[in-house]
């Protein structure tokens, strides 16, 4: 099953190859291999589920001067009851040597599916966050961050 991603508000569903091509066309150094690595990581995290946009809000600075610590914050809209809650949120930085940033696991006892933390960014890139709901649906969001000084290895 090809992973399908909803881009912008258009109901344009893209196959993983298509998504890779689109990401390759993005400015600021997003590469096809980044997209492939991201696709592999997403597949590992959520299997065959098809992410749709919405319900998760990701907040990041527009410009990160220091890629070593970039604050990020997300909130997922959910009643957080035993019947309907956010199971997990996966955060990816596709332009990093390893795209996985972290996975956060919630239960109904979390009360609110929101986290504030800090990530490393090697370069300017689109940060992707996926929210996995208890009913198996997956929501996604994307935010671009411009990085002045990279923060991975070297």
């Amino acid at each position: 099953m090809a992973l399908q991603v909803l881009i912008d508000r258009r109901t344009l569903l893209l196959s993983s190859a298509g998504a890779a091509a689109i990401l390759a066309l993005l400015p600021d150094g997003a590469h096809a291999q980044d997209a492939q690595a991201l696709d592999a990581s997403i597949r590992k995290a959520i299997g065959d589920a098809k992410p749709v946009e919405g319900r998760i809000t990701l907040t990041l600075p527009e410009i990160a001067e220091n890629g070593n610590t970039v604050p990020f914050e997300f909130v997922v809209q959910s009643p957080m009851t035993d019947a309907d809650y956010v199971k997990a949120v996966h955060v990816f930085a596709p332009g990093n040597p390893q795209p996985e940033v972290a996975t956060f696991l919630f239960t109904a006892a979390s009360g609110k599916a929101a986290v504030n933390s800090r990530m490393r960014l090697a370069k300017t890139q689109d940060i992707v966050a996926l929210a996995e709901m208890s009913d198996g649906t997956v929501f996604m969001t994307k935010r671009i961050v411009k990085v002045t000084i990279g923060g991975c290895g070297g």
């Binding site: 070593n68 610590t69 970039v70 957080m80 955060v91 990816f92 930085a93 990093n96 040597p97 390893q98 795209p99 996985e100 940033v101 972290a102 996975t103 956060f104 696991l105 919630f106 239960t107 109904a108 006892a109 979390s110 009360g111 609110k112 599916a113 929101a114 986290v115 504030n116 933390s117 800090r118 990530m119 490393r120 923060g151 991975c152 290895g153 070297g154």
Partner: protein, 107 residues
């Protein structure tokens, strides 16, 4: 590595509240990507797991990857079902476990 983590809870907590818990722990979070001055890779050593257990119930967990910054700061939310200890545990690749307990007092 035995530096005490910093944990901040709201001053006033009522039963049923959803509270924010802010945590900060000291750790290099070595990614495994860097090389030492002889060009040898430095082995990866990051905190890969963080768990928060309140009154015996897991309220939040994080699986951290190399993309998380050093000295990881994590703030999360939990629903306070009643008084009880909040046990926070960080475990790194070397198996070092950092743990701290704070009492959630209903006031």
């Amino acid at each position: 590595m035995s530096v005490k983590p910093r944990i901040k809870l709201p001053d006033l907590i009522k039963s049923g509240d959803v509270i924010e818990v802010k945590t900060l722990v000291s750790h290099v979070m070595e990614t495994g990507q860097r090389k030492d001055k002889d060009g040898k890779p430095i082995a990866r050593n990051i905190i890969n797991s963080f768990t928060a257990v309140h009154a015996g119930k897991t309220v939040f967990e994080a699986k951290l990857q190399p993309g998380t910054s050093s000295n990881p700061f994590i703030s999360f939310f939990m629903k306070v079902s009643g008084p009880g200890d909040l046990v926070l545990t960080w475990i790194d690749d070397a198996g070092v476990k950092i743990t701290d307990t704070v009492a959630v007092k209903i006031g």
